[in-house]
Subunit: 353 residues, 2 copies
């Protein structure tokens, strides 16, 4: 009778990949408590996420891989789950930052995130870039919202992007902000990019490594909603210095924003601060103030994020109009100065390390 | 000297997959104008999307596959593009609708989409479900926003989802609306689901086929923003009867919503109508009306979509509060009746075909 060994089993399991993370379940340390008894093999599969919808398929793959070995009569797979710490170490960002084209020197890469859609990530990104360039910084915006890009429209700029000696050349705004967005590469701006995750991820990485960004104090990365491919790519493949988290007063928004906070903590990405947008509406004609989206929960997000609330931006119809007209950088909103200061502080601290 | 044949080249190219669509470039009819001359092979690769960021990689893969054949001295790949019609036939929905659990009978599957985030897709979905159940329909909501699920919060319902004899049992709202959402499967509602596309796609399909929806007149599918995995899965794998397109007055929103219109047309999914949300704010204390997000562009979306504007929903702070308090179904907004009528008309037409 053939006697099966532990190392043969592990070798067989090493060929089974986690369907999400695309790495071997052995390398991911998911295989545990392996026991062999009279040809019966028992082991535990510690899942990264217990409610993983592909878990049955994964268990089946692992079972079949072991069952195929000579000497194995029976296989029992017990489904378990990793602890939060173990999961963290598995999902930790790997040093995969792609090399940029030469001559690029970006001091800080700042991700503007929310998790929730329509909270004004792109508007805040645009206003912040304008405030930074007014403060003498050299600034770029990487529009990582590949399926809903807003940046070109806000700045009233058009493509096409041209490839020069130093890589893809960003389009410059009136004030000199360097902009790259998929919409600058499309024939018509309302054309859809119907791409699955890997293509989205690839486009974002290309916007980072193949663009001639040159010398910048800040590159702002405007992210789409959600905690899927785009956010994962930015957090894992770009050298993010910190995250600005955008929220609105709605408690529903707070819940979804907190998911992104959870993600940032899981991937160990530092959160610089919270910006609350749509914080009330001031009717200039009557002087009345209306909490259209409720009284605000930014302090709650700040507690979860362990980061300060940097500023509150009220609803301003004239600002909406400037955005729609492609004139965002002409808006000089006083609330942004606190954010500029926060970024300068982070940069100073980093240069003293 | 070995003489290379056309069929050998096609066989080699058959093993090269489009990185996005995951099908052979030969099956996708991308290889054209193949010429062989003294060991030099020339052919055109007709891309589905000319600005595809992976095109160089794809061309390289094709070049290497052919270059490896004995007798080939040189390979020239010319990059071309498919016509809109050809692209459509390639991207056409395939009949892959997964079989549902037994005893399910859903008359109409309605996708609530926008492309843009934060325009109120979930709120409209909730208000519409409440209006439909008041009109005597049996209604369910499939929350396809896996990374930013809002439905449970709007209805004030909690998990866990239980698996019964007829599959996963939806949670019922106060009025009896059947609800399924990833947030009903999480331990804590602000926990993030950090999944790449295939997992998102899988979860949505599971919510369709493994749930005991029972007998329903309408299943509303609440979609996340974007035109990537979630939207593709719903449009390609669920038997969608029609799409309700949500927009807001901002012209920026219009542009992004039009991308989803473009996607719906590409995938031949019928658009039932447009709903404009956040259409102005009425200050009850002074009677003044404010176009906070601008004057509205819903007619422009309607023209692009070739579908009517069904209704306009103004901003109502008391509605925001009901949403935040989990009481959405108690709101009875008169604007929804036009949408109920539209769905009943679509259903009647379908039953007469």
């Amino acid at each position: 009778m053939v006697e099966i060994t532990e190392s043969e089993i592990m070798d067989a399991l090493r060929r089974v990949n986690d369907p999400e993370i695309h790495r071997s379940i052995v390398d991911l340390k998911m295989v545990r408590d392996l026991k062999i008894q009279d040809g019966k093999v028992i082991f535990t599969l510690a899942l990264t996420i217990p409610e993983c919808p592909l878990r049955d398929q994964l268990a089946q793959d692992a079972r079949l891989a072991v069952a195929a070995l000579p000497g194995v009569k029976e296989v029992e797979v017990i489904l378990g789950a990793m602890s939060a710490e173990e999961r963290q170490s598995v999902l930790q960002p790997k040093p995969q930052t792609p090399a940029m084209v030469t001559n690029n020197q970006v001091k800080q890469v700042i991700a503007v995130m929310s998790g929730k859609g329509g909270v004004g990530k792109s508007m805040v990104t645009g206003l912040l870039a304008a405030a930074l360039i007014r403060a003498g910084h050299r600034v770029g915006i990487l529009d990582a919202d590949v399926t809903g890009p807003s940046i070109p429209r806000l700045f009233g700029v058009h493509g096409p992007l041209i490839v020069g000696k130093a890589g893809i050349e960003p389009i410059q705004s009136r004030l000199g902000i360097k902009l790259v967005s998929i919409n600058l590469a499309l024939e018509k701006e309302d054309q859809a990019v119907i791409w699955r995750g890997p293509m989205i991820s690839n486009a974002i990485q290309q916007f980072w490594k193949d663009v001639g960004w040159g010398q910048l104090e800040e590159l702002l990365v405007d992210l789409p909603p959600g905690t899927s491919d785009a956010a994962l790519t930015v957090m894992q493949n770009l050298p993010i210095s910190g995250i600005l988290m955008i929220t609105t007063p709605q408690s529903l928004a707070t819940m979804v924003v907190n998911k992104t906070v959870f993600m940032a903590h899981t991937l160990k990405a530092p959160i610089i601060g919270i910006i609350e947008n749509m914080a009330g509406f001031f009717a200039e004609d009557t002087g009345h103030q209306y909490d259209i989206f409720g009284p605000g929960h930014s302090e709650e997000v700040a507690r979860a994020a362990n980061a300060p609330v940097l500023t509150h931006l009220p609803l301003r119809p004239e600002l909406t109009k400037m955005c729609d007209d492609g004139m965002i950088e002409l808006a000089d909103v006083p609330e942004m100065s606190a954010v500029v200061t926060a970024l300068e502080t982070v940069s100073l601290k980093a240069s003293h390390v």
